[in-house]
Structure formats: C-alpha cells, structure tokens
C-alpha cells in the first residue's frame, strides 16, 4: 500500500504559509470537504509523528488536491522545504467531513486563521444558492486565498484583529450582524476553540444547525490510539471521542467546550 504521492506544485502564499498541490487520484476522488490527511514530515531525519492537515481543495479532473500549511514548528518547517517533484508520504483522506444537505439554501462558513482552509472545498461542493464566507485573520499580511474564496461564494466578509484589512473585530460579531439581517440554514465553523465556542452559542441562539471542525494533537490519525480526543455528549453522560476518526467535523451540539 503505497502512500507516497508526487508534489506537483509548491508555493508560498505569504511569509509563513505555503500551498502544496499533490497528485493523487485516490485522495482527490474520495476526499469530502472537511476531511484531513496525515503527513509524514521528512524521512529518517524528520519528526516522529505525522501531522494532521485539512484538505483545502481538490481537483477531481486533474486528480490533484491542495493543502495549505502554516509553519508552526519542526514538522511544518520541514514540509515547507518540499518542492515540486518531491514525493510526500500522506495517509488519507481521513475522518468525517462537513455535512452537505441539498435542501439547505443558505449557508455561512466561518473560519479563523488556519481554520479557513477546509472551508474552501466545502463552498465548492455545497449546492446552496446562497453561500457566504466570513473569514478572520490576524492582520492584513495574513490574509490569503481571498480570490479563491470570493469565487466560490456569494459574499465574502473579511475581518482582521487590528482592522488593517476588512472589518476590525471578531468573525463571530460579524456573523451576528449577518444573522440579524437574514437567517441561514446551516453554519460551519473552523478556527480557534474560543471562536468555535462562541459560534456554537450564536447558532443555538438563532436556532440554526451548525458544525465545527476540531483540532487536537494526534498519534495514529486513524482512530486506533485514542490520543486525539475531545469531549462530546453521550446521552446524559459524556465521553472522549477521537477527533481523527469521528471528527474532525462534529455537529455543534455534540461537542462539549470547556
């Protein structure tokens, strides 16, 4: 079972974020928006554990998919040195993606930082007539994939923490304003925990179903080691559930945020 795929293109989107386009018939065909891949960084001299990365978009015709990665530590640093033509060892697609209900006419995706990436393919694949994206970034220089997102939705709202681009403030504030204007059939969140917690609160307030994409440190990436858990509801009780296998996307009312 080979898990080595060829990198077709490698480019930096800003100072510390880069995009890899990878050739894989299998992953591009099978991947659903919100699913992730688990990547080995380097060979012998590399880091021990694989790194979980969301699938950002797929090109089912060309049999390729894109991942966008921000340099955070050792592993992502090693990945940033990969070039077109290099082989990369990837397991995937893994986990549960976002739910696409054909009856939904209006959806909003809300992303923050590296959380925006899986939302791109979701917008591409979702058949809703009215698709809105609210994306938050640290500041102007962090804004990426703007054109790609604009193409896939009816309206794109960008906010930055310092107001250096788009609106100043939190994506959740913008979301509230938008919902006050007009309701939505479903919300999709991906980003920092506090943002998602707030987001789920808003969804409940407006009585809109929502999904969140969770992050956790991972071992196997396939559900076998139970290291990557988050707290979820289980009837009247709760349990720890594998983010890699039963997530990363969960229904907003399933996750217990602490």
């Amino acid at each position: 079972m080979s898990t080595n795929y060829k990198i077709i293109k490698a480019e930096f989107l800003n100072a510390d974020t880069f995009k890899l386009t990878v050739q894989s018939e299998k992953i591009s065909q099978k991947a659903r928006p919100g699913q992730m891949v688990h990547i080995k960084c380097g060979d012998e001299g590399g880091v021990l554990l694989r790194r979980p990365i969301s699938i950002c978009s797929v090109d089912r015709e060309k049999g390729t998919f894109d991942i966008v990665i921000q340099i955070r530590g050792k592993g992502t640093k090693i990945l940033s040195k990969y070039r077109a033509g290099d082989m990369i060892d990837i397991l995937g697609p893994l986990g549960q993606g976002f739910s696409i209900y054909p009856k939904h006419k209006k959806i909003i995706v809300i992303g923050g930082g590296i959380g925006i990436f899986p939302l791109l393919q979701l917008l591409k694949d979702h058949p809703a007539e009215n698709k809105k994206a609210i994306l938050g970034f640290r500041n102007k220089s962090c804004v990426i994939l703007e054109e790609e997102f604009r193409k896939e939705c009816n309206e794109l709202l960008i906010s930055t923490d310092d107001g250096s681009y788009g609106e100043k403030g939190f994506v959740t504030d913008i979301l509230k304003k938008e919902l006050d204007k007009e309701p939505a059939d479903m919300l999709f969140f991906c980003g920092p925990l506090p943002m998602m917690k707030l987001g789920v609160g808003i969804a409940n307030e407006y009585n809109i179903p929502c999904e969140v994409s969770m992050e956790q440190r991972m071992g196997c990436g396939i559900g076998a080691c139970l290291t990557c858990v988050c707290k979820t509801k289980n009837g009247d009780d709760w349990e720890y559930t594998q983010v890699c296998k039963r997530g990363p996307v969960f229904s907003g009312d399933k996750v217990i945020f602490e």
């Binding site: 079972m1 021990l48 397991l91 396939i222 559900g223 076998a224 858990v229």
Partner: protein
C-alpha cells in the same frame, strides 16, 4: 514466508505463527489497521488495555512529541471487558492471528475478575498490565514492587485458563527481580517494557503539554533502555520474554531477539508507518536468510558477549 524459514515461536503455551505482535494501546482492536494490511500477517494482536468497567480516560491533550519519542497519557480509555467480548472478539476472530487481551485493574479483585471472565472468552492469551503509568489508582503501583507482583500474579493465576503474560514496568530499580517474582507466582511469560514515565512542558505558556501533566514515553528514544531490560530479564528468568520499546524495523527486532526476547511487540512506530508490522516480519526473514538462520528461535539470546 520464505521456504525453509521458520518463524514460529511458543510463548509459554501461546503459539504464534511469527514473533511480531501489535503492542497494546497502539492498535485499537485491529479494525483501523485492517484497512492498511491483511491482519492475517500478524503473529498476534495485543488489544487496547481493558478494565472491568468502561473508562473515560484522561483529559486531552494526550500526546506530545519528544526527541525520537512520544509521551502519551490516554489513561486506559476503553469500553470495558464485556463490550470487548461482545463487539470486538467476533471481528478479531475472523483473522488467523492470536488475540492477546491486555487487562488492567485497580484492585487485586478486579484483576482476578478480569482474568476469570477472559479465561472463558475466545482469546488466546491474557497480558496482565501491571505497569500503566497513566492511571492514578493501582496499575503501576502493582508493578513496582516484587511482593505486590507476586501477590497479584499468584492470585489471578488461579483463574487463568489461558497463557498468562505479565507486562512489566520499566519505572523500577530492578526489573529482573520483579520478573522473577512474576515467574515464581506463575506467569507463563513476561512482556516489557511499558512506557517510561515522563513529562513535557511548553516554555511559552509555562504549562505541561499533556492534560494529565505526566505521561508515558515510548518510541525509539527508549529502545536502549528496553534492550537492556530485556537482556537483564531474560538472563534472570526461564519463562519466555516478549520485548518491546522503540522497535521501528526488523533490525531492531533482531536486536531484541539477540538480547533474549522470544517475540516482539511494536506500538509507536505504527503511527508514522502503518505498515511497520508487516515490514518488520519481512526484514526478519531477510536477515535470517542472509545469515542462514533457519528458525527464529535460534536467534533468541544469541548475543555474543
């Protein structure tokens, strides 16, 4: 398997078709890895550590990466022995590989009960986990003194109708002494090492990385310690030894055989390479062919000192 190469081993009554076993806690109940390779290839599967009742486990994060190793603090999250018997054995029994059930308890009575229940279940051996560093009650404390090991092993032995493997903790002053206590109390074999208690800190946030503060170290970093302990224990006891700790390939496995192990378990290495168990078997075979070793048992304890 190559023509005249014999990979069979017998571990205190547990017959394995080859000496490569998936280590407990790293392989779930086998379902996930069955997507990657044919589980029939494995000598055995040690399932995720079970307890009498279901356990929720420790708060996340439960894993941290360290130089050539990982720390985990899963804390024995598991569905309980009954759910295992009902839901997992039927799946595992579809494959021609030995099922080794890893069992933990927080009292001697719990250990007894587990062994009693498992002895009537359709499994091939019971691995008594006396060494989990990630749960507060019991477990590690059972494994860290010879007299407690003697007590718990001799008491569960009465209920054991399957080969009894005692899994030892490396967090002790003299592991050979503990192994001898297990042997005297009736263990059919010992397996070692479980993880070494460790810790990781994020200097920026000034917080521990693991939700449980400390965790168990596994992976290549601990291989030298594991090898030494297998060497010490196999010289001290006459029951078979299952070696583990940081094995990532067939050459590592051969080193464990030479140090005295009759079989090996592999855990952490599977996270990076889901094919590691199968590849290890292949490299062992190649090593044997190259060195004209017909039976893997001829390697056991073959270190020239």
């Amino acid at each position: 398997m190559r023509g005249n190469i014999n990979l069979k081993v017998n571990i205190g009554g547990l017959e394995l078709k080859n000496p490569v076993i998936a280590a407990s806690g790293c392989f779930g109940f086998g379902r996930e890895y069955s997507r990657f390779f044919d589980l029939n290839r494995l000598g055995g599967i040690a399932v995720k550590g079970l307890t009498l009742l279901p356990r929720k486990g420790n708060p996340p994060p439960r894993i941290a990466e360290t130089p050539s190793g990982i720390l985990n603090s899963v804390g024995l999250q598991n569905p309980g022995v009954h759910a295992f018997i009902e839901k997992e054995i039927p799946f595992l029994r579809k494959f021609d590989t030995s099922i080794i059930v890893n069992a933990s308890g927080s009292t001697v009575e719990e250990y007894e009960k587990m062994v009693e229940i498992l002895s009537d279940a359709d499994v091939d051996a019971i691995e008594l986990n006396l060494s989990c560093p990630n749960v507060k009650e019991g477990c590690l404390s059972f494994g860290s003194s010879p007299h407690r090991v003697r007590e718990v092993v001799s008491r569960v032995k009465k209920y054991a109708k399957k080969p009894l493997i005692v899994k030892l903790s490396p967090n002790v002053t003299d592991i050979a002494e503990i192994a001898k206590a297990a042997e005297e109390a009736g263990a059919d074999s010992v397996s070692l090492i479980n993880t070494i208690l460790g810790m990781a800190i994020n200097a920026k946030t000034r917080r521990p990385i693991l939700g449980n503060v400390t965790g168990g170290l596994s992976g290549p970093a601990i291989k030298p310690v594991a090898l030494r302990m297998v060497y010490e224990v196999s010289k001290a006891v006459s029951i078979p030894v299952i070696g583990m700790g940081g094995i990532t390939n067939g050459t590592d496995a051969v080193e464990f055989f030479l140090a005295g192990a009759t079989a090996v378990m592999i855990g952490t290495a599977g996270f990076a390479n889901p094919m590691v168990w199968v590849e290890t078997i292949e490299v062992i075979e190649a090593y044997m062919a190259e060195n004209s070793v017909n039976s893997v048992t001829d390697l056991i304890g073959g270190l020239i000192v």
